[in-house]
């Protein structure tokens, strides 16, 4: 039941937002204790504001009563970023889902943070335009969440990630004031606060309006599926393609575990006997795209590709992509549980890192499925396990740490696109020194964030977080069935 302080907060939220738009029943909190990864943390109340003023009200009320506040979109994050790590109020932005403006002539759109990525894509496509960042969860993830994590996607290789497409942001600061960062142009006078905000995982404020840049859809596109005997051979081909001076818009790898799972569910026609496939897409002018595709085919063959299939129609192209987009989900059909990791390494180190991932996973006695943005060196090993086996979850988390270490040692980093969230805070010390982390902390303070504003995210410091996290970990490990 609610403590007195929380009961007051709920009452004030109700009068600011309307009764219907505040949840606090304990049963209802179960629905907001998860995102798409394996951590859990339950809020005490959930607020659904309808506009920037209401978001500001939520922020002010929680601040006044010293209650944590955490923003959330569709809850598809993969690092625990939208979890109420220390309880408090979850500020859910799904009601703010309007596309406010779409200006084809100036190629900009202004949207609310609850707009679904694919809804913006569809709206832009009606004008022959593209919103480039396309995370695999695009059919349900929100733009607000994309801003928070600086989301990427298969097409990041050529187009860049979310930060390259955001022009301006209206945000509610941690003290409840509303302000704009950036504007409607790529560059704005003064320091680039917009750039600083993108990828800050909701620790500097809550986004309430987003101005994005749209790009024209390219005239021609070629999509290829190259079939290799091993993950290593496919990894070598990744660099071989880039060395030839071609930058594909997408260069994705799927290993045989993924291929088997996808075929089991969708029957796309991926080669079941392949060690790995690369899904490669080039686009551009009609005149140049054929030459680029030929370069890709040649590079793959030179690295031992058994077959390179070129999609003959838009339907076949869509089908090849369908398998890629459903790939992570398909793993759910072949294992009770899996732990999806996100790391990044220099492209040229992929072959050895992939070998290392395979060796580590085998040593721990697990199977791994790999599906990732190979062109960016952004790997996603999925460790398959069964939560009901005693100690399995703890071992998987430990293995996850070792794989992240491997990435860091290869000159890479602990996240390519999913963010740090609450899941990987403790790894931050592997890449940043104490001074770096203190600088980040000072930025947070500069934006006016208290310790209760989206606590326990990104930075390994913070009162109560370490203990809370350790206690959480113990509780998780003691309760079978907690990792769904």
């Amino acid at each position: 039941m609610l403590t007195n302080a929380l009961a007051t907060v709920v009452r004030e939220l109700q009068s600011a937002l309307g009764k219907r738009h505040v949840l606090w029943a304990p049963e209802d909190m179960l629905g907001y204790e998860y995102d798409a990864t394996i951590d859990r943390a339950r809020p005490d109340a959930v607020a659904f504001p309808a506009n920037a003023e209401e978001v500001a009200a939520v922020v002010r009320i929680t601040r006044r009563h010293d209650v944590p506040v955490v923003p959330r979109g569709s809850g598809t994050g993969l690092a625990g970023g939208a979890l109420a790590a220390r309880g408090g109020v979850l500020c859910v932005l799904t009601r703010m889902n309007r596309i406010l403006e779409l200006d084809p002539a100036n190629r900009v759109a202004v949207v609310e943070p609850g707009v679904i990525n694919l809804a913006l894509q569809d709206a832009a496509a009606a004008h022959g335009l593209l919103y480039a960042p396309d995370p695999s969860s695009q059919r349900i993830c929100t733009l607000g969440g994309n801003i928070a994590t600086n989301a990427g996607g298969p097409h990041t290789l050529a187009h860049g990630s979310t930060v390259n497409h955001v022009l301006g942001l209206e945000v509610v600061l941690p003290d409840g004031r509303i302000t704009w960062l950036g504007g409607r142009q790529l560059d704005a006078p003064g320091p680039d606060l917009r750039g600083l905000f993108v990828g800050s995982e909701g620790t500097l404020g809550i986004v309430t309006k987003i101005c994005v840049r749209l790009v024209p859809v390219q005239a021609a596109v070629r999509t290829m599926l190259a079939d290799f005997e091993s993950v290593e051979a496919a990894s070598e081909a990744v660099s071989a393609v880039i060395r030839r001076g071609v930058i594909p818009v997408a260069l994705e790898m799927m290993d045989h575990e993924i291929i088997a799972a996808v075929e089991h569910v969708l029957h796309i026609g991926y080669p079941l006997d392949a060690g790995a496939v690369l899904l490669i897409e080039v686009e551009g002018l009609r005149e140049s795209v054929e030459a680029d595709a030929a370069q890709v085919v040649a590079a793959c063959r030179e690295q031992g590709a058994r077959e390179v299939r070129v999609a003959e129609s838009e339907a076949e192209r869509a089908r090849l992509w369908e398998g890629r987009k459903a790939g992570i989900g398909a793993i759910g059909t072949v294992t009770p549980n899996f732990y999806l990791l996100d790391g990044v390494v220099p492209r040229t180190r992929l072959p050895e890192v992939m070998r290392g991932v395979a060796e580590l996973t085998a040593r721990y006695g697990f199977r791994v499925a790999n599906i990732f943005h190979a062109g960016d060196g952004n790997l996603h090993p999925n460790i398959m396990f069964d939560e009901l086996q005693p100690g399995a979850t703890a071992k998987v988390l430990e293995l996850g740490g070792e794989i992240m270490r491997l990435c860091v040692d290869a000159g890479g980093s602990i996240t390519g696109e999913h963010g740090v969230g609450q899941e990987k805070r403790s790894y931050m010390e592997w890449i940043f020194g104490p001074e770096d982390l203190r600088a980040m902390e000072r930025v947070r303070l500069g934006f006016g964030a208290s310790e209760l504003f989206n606590p326990c995210k990104i930075l390994p410091t913070g009162h109560g977080c370490g203990q809370a996290h350790a206690a959480d970990a113990r509780r998780h490990l003691a309760t079978p069935g907690v990792y769904l």
Partner: protein, 434 residues
């Protein structure tokens, strides 16, 4: 009222474990679209069921209300990359709640189960109830209530009345051999169902007519009963099993090549008899065998050379409302489109999301009136945008709901089963031949 799950129909852990929390089911779920709230989404409901199963949460009335708002349309199953068998998890969760006994479950659930058990499953009771409804239509009272007297009823009652069918036709209650073609190619049995023949006799007539033209002898075993779909959906697994056993025995005795069902909700349920009776040693195998012989009428017809009898023109623009339990539960989407597409003069105008539920969902329209009307309103807007004057369906429940939608929105459109349009096309060709 609270407690856990009980009885023989506990949701299976292995089913629940398939869910990876990706959220791909959210954007296709009608109740999530309407509310934007996680607990009115498939992912949220699965999480709740898992929490109760694991003993982490009590299945309180509040928690159960989220399961209850589910339409069981199973659109989430089509969207799920991990193949979570959501429909049966929800059926099991409801059955495992019902098994707690009358004192430990929501009273509305008990009332619903009683109505289903003592009305729908009993032809004589059902017919008496419908006789009153028929009298209501034929006496002209219905026309008065929907016209000049509309304001006399209080709003909640008016909303309920608007849902009622117009029973102005003689019911279809025939059994035995319904039709015998000159050259017989197959023998099939027709499920005549509980309310179907009472509400929409013309759908049965058209089905028999079409099957006969395709060379089928059509029989209706007299001992058949309601298929039990609504009982399964409401968690009354015991009644559903009893009905399934009676139907299996009745249809086996008919000795036919296929059991044809012209209501998608019923064909889906009958194809799942094997699972329903899996723990019954005496019936499990028989149920599997029976289920493998069940065909939805559109699936059956589309697999035949259905153009052979000659297709005549049925002019007009039609839009197709996929029956959820055809598109999502049985994954049949192309059959109705192939049939509509083959009819000369008929232009198929697809709506934006033809496979999104209309809000009928069995008893849902009565039990969850407000949400049902919200879902229906967006459906009617999509239909209006197509400009079609014909709405094709594959299930009597959808027909009833869409007819109410047409009346409410004032749209100039008629609602017909796909099989009726095919029959009309055959008749037009025959008339043209003289």
């Amino acid at each position: 009222m609270s407690g856990g799950f009980r009885g023989p129909d506990l949701p299976a852990l292995a089913d629940l474990q398939n869910c990876i929390h990706c959220g791909f089911c959210l954007p296709v779920c009608p109740t999530y679209i309407a509310t934007g709230q996680e607990l009115e989404s498939p992912r949220g409901r699965l999480h709740l069921v898992r929490a109760v199963l694991d003993g982490k949460a009590e299945a309180t009335d509040r928690l159960l209300s989220h399961l209850d708002l589910c339409l069981q349309c199973r659109a989430c199953e089509s969207a799920c990359p991990s193949q979570v068998p959501y429909g049966r998890i929800m059926e099991d969760a409801r059955a495992a709640t019902m098994a707690r006994g009358a004192r430990d479950r929501p009273r509305a659930w008990t009332l619903r189960a009683l109505a289903l058990r003592y009305v729908l499953a009993r032809p004589r009771v059902l017919r008496s109830v419908l006789a009153l409804a028929r009298l209501y239509t034929r006496s002209g009272l219905q026309r008065l209530v929907r016209g000049p007297l509309a304001r006399a009823l209080p709003a909640p009652l008016r909303a309920l009345e608007a849902q009622a069918p117009v029973l102005d036709r003689a019911p279809f209650r025939r059994s035995g051999v319904l039709a015998r073609p000159q050259a017989m190619r197959a023998r099939v049995a027709l499920l005549t169902g509980c309310v179907h023949g009472e509400l929409y006799p013309q759908m049965h007539e058209a089905t028999v007519s079409v099957l006969t033209r395709l060379g089928c002898e059509v029989v209706a075993p007299p001992a058949q009963v309601c298929c039990g779909a609504l009982h399964t959906h409401a968690g009354d697994a015991e009644t559903a099993r009893a009905l399934a056993r009676r139907n299996i025995a009745a249809f086996e005795a008919a000795g036919v090549d296929a059991v044809i069902v012209n209501a998608a909700g019923c064909s889906a349920a009958m194809k799942e008899y094997g699972r329903l009776l899996r723990s019954d040693a005496r019936w499990a195998l028989r149920a599997e065998r029976f289920a493998s012989g069940v065909r939805d009428v559109l699936e059956y017809v589309a697999a035949q050379d259905f153009a052979a009898p000659g297709l005549g023109a049925v002019p007009g623009d039609v839009t197709l409302q996929d029956a959820c339990h055809l598109a999502h539960a049985q994954r049949i989407r192309s059959a109705p489109r192939a049939i509509l597409g083959a009819i000369p003069g008929l232009r198929l105008r697809e709506m934006q999301t033809p496979d999104r539920c209309c809000g009928a969902a069995g008893l849902y329209a009565l039990v969850q009136g407000e949400m049902s009307r919200t879902v229906l309103a967006s459906k009617m807007a999509e239909i209006a945008a197509t400009g079609a004057h014909l709405i094709a369906t594959a299930n009597p429940g959808c027909t009833l709901q869409l007819e109410a939608g047409v009346r409410r929105s004032g749209l100039d459109a008629g609602v017909r089963h796909v099989i009726e349009l095919l029959d009309e096309s055959y008749r037009a060709a025959a008339a043209a031949r003289g």
